[in-house]
Amino acid sequence: MKCPKCARPVDHEAESCYSCGYSELEAATRHGANIVSLNRVHDAAYCLRKQERDDLNDTLDQLEMLFPQMLFCAYLGTLPEGLSLSELGFWLLNHGQVRGAEYARPNENAILVVMDMNSKQIGVSLGYFAETIIGEEDAYRALLFARPNLLNAEYGEAISLIFTRLGRTLKRKGKKLRKLTHEELKKQTSGNWGNVLDIPPHLAPKLPGMDESSRLKSA
């Protein structure tokens, strides 16, 4: 996990970024603390044709049928200077309200695809629940999968492909999770953060009588 503003690693329980001090409060201060209403496919940049939008909605319908807990939404806009997509995704997931989303699809289960037509950037913002299922590598592969369509300005199809690939990941991970026992699941969901800061272990000298795990703990 990284800070949406400075992209530095942050702890999973950090109240603010250790590096830049960024938090939801700062985001609310800058972009507003109110709740905004969003469409499931919010095309603020008006770059999607009706056909593309319809096709994308069909894909999202299928995904929502397959994953009743998950929320799939997309935001396409032209961002002003000084606003990054990561910050926008962070703010939208915490302050946005997707129209038509039932109570069973809270924002923490959301997979939000954000795209900036100015900077030609596209990204995926994940809620807390979604990030436990979809890893960064899976999301990046989904983005790469749609890159040819993005280069050809086929944005609707590209976003559809991204959601489809993420849906495959959800399906695969969901099947694995269903096979886990309760203890394994609890262990995986609660204590599977590992080295959340992505900091390599300190190379402390190995003392006699100390095994590798204790050496790493001491480090």
């Binding site: 999973h12 915490n94 596209i122 994940l126 979604a130 990046y140 495959r168 399906k171």
Partner: protein, 379 residues
């Protein structure tokens, strides 16, 4: 007083001596003088100083040339009851030229062989009374001994290796098969159990050679096949003038032809037989092209080669097909797994314990981005 008689004797005696004549014996006939050889023939004529007159020798040499006998291929040594068949007589022309003791030329002087007797009586029995023990039947010893042995060894080797046995019967060029002898019946009587070819060869007359094969073999194949085999054998035999060489070459050629004949018989079928019957006899080379010759008749003979080619082709096709199938299967599996299938039963995830981060209620700011601007990478 004594001097006078002495002088008289010395004067008259020589005259008396010179006047005296010696009576020499006279030849009873004048012609015997020329036929006498000094030395009794123990020495070559050139070594004898008193050689006969040139005119007589020339006449003898011409007569010897005119009476030169036909080539004789019989045994060289003397046989009991026979006269030596070759005799060397030397005549010297050096004597006439004044070089005493020099042998310049030796003229081969062979006796004129007696005309071959007709095949009848005991001689006919030697040929036709009993089945031959050896593969070469030459009771008259018309071939040289060395060549006969060579041919026998070859025929024995052939009989060990080949399906068909070859028996060669050597007759004189003037001899004929007796009328009461039927070679086919004889062949049937002798060789009905084993496939055998009886080759009747007439000395120095290869064109008269007869080939007799088993009835079963003869009826199973068109006549043109055997005619072609015979033509090839005759062609080989005509390549030389010596009877032993002719027999040897024809036997070798017949051996080769019989090898292909054996393969032809193995693959003979009705369709091929009809096709062969329609094929006209053509003048084709002999053994060197025997496979080509029989390829025309029986392509099935070469089925092994074509089978090998076909099998290689089949293996290649099967291998290629297998690769295609495997590749297609892999592609299908990959496509099946990679397809964007969103159908299926709804999937419910278990509830996780959520811990907020950076003060966010629903999201902690997890973001994965990428640039799709040309020339830029991901962020």
């Amino acid at each position: 007083m004594r001097l006078f008689p002495t002088l008289l004797i010395l004067t008259v005696a020589p005259g008396l001596v010179l006047a005296a004549k010696v009576e020499m014996p006279a030849w009873s006939e004048a012609s015997d003088a020329g036929s006498y050889h000094l030395g009794g023939g123990l020495w070559p004529g050139g070594l004898v100083p008193e050689a006969p007159e040139e005119e007589t020798e020339t006449e003898l040499a011409d007569a010897a040339k005119e009476n030169a006998p036909a080539k004789f291929y019989g045994p060289q040594g003397a046989v009991d009851g026979e006269t030596p068949e070759t005799e060397l007589a030397a005549t010297s022309r050096g004597g006439a030229e004044g070089e005493v003791g020099a042998v310049e030329e030796v003229i081969e002087e062979e006796p004129v062989p007696e005309p071959l007797p007709a095949l009848e009586g005991d001689l006919a029995d030697l040929y036709f009374e009993h089945p031959p023990i050896e593969f070469l039947l030459d009771p008259q010893r018309l071939l040289t001994e060395q060549k006969s042995n060579d041919i026998k060894r070859f025929l024995e080797f052939h009989s060990d290796e080949a399906e068909f046995n070859i028996y060669v019967m050597v007759l004189g060029e003037t001899q004929t098969i007796p009328k009461d002898v039927n070679l086919r019946e004889l062949h049937h009587e002798w060789f009905s159990e084993n496939p055998t070819v009886l080759m009747v060869y007439y000395r120095e007359q290869p064109e008269m050679t007869e080939l007799v094969v088993n009835d079963s073999v003869r009826t199973s194949l068109p006549k043109s096949v055997f005619e072609r085999i015979r033509q090839n054998c005759l062609r080989e035999g005509a390549a030389t003038d010596d009877a032993p060489d002719q027999v040897e070459k024809m036997a070798i050629e017949l051996s080769i032809q019989l090898y292909w004949l054996g393969r032809l018989l193995e693959h003979e079928n009705k369709d091929e037989r009809e096709r062969v019957a329609e094929t006209s006899l053509q003048d084709l080379p002999a053994s060197a092209d025997a496979p080509e010759l029989l390829r025309e008749y029986a392509p099935g003979i070469f089925l092994s080669e074509s089978k090998a080619t076909v099998s290689l082709l089949v293996v290649g096709v099967v291998a290629l097909g297998t690769l295609v199938v495997v590749g297609l299967t892999g592609w299908m599996i990959f496509w099946w797994r990679d397809r964007n299938n969103l159908a299926g039963r709804p999937l419910i995830f278990p509830n996780f314990e959520i811990v907020s981060r950076l003060g966010g209620e629903f999201s902690g700011g997890t973001y994965i981005g990428m640039s799709f601007d040309i020339g830029e990478g991901s962020s």
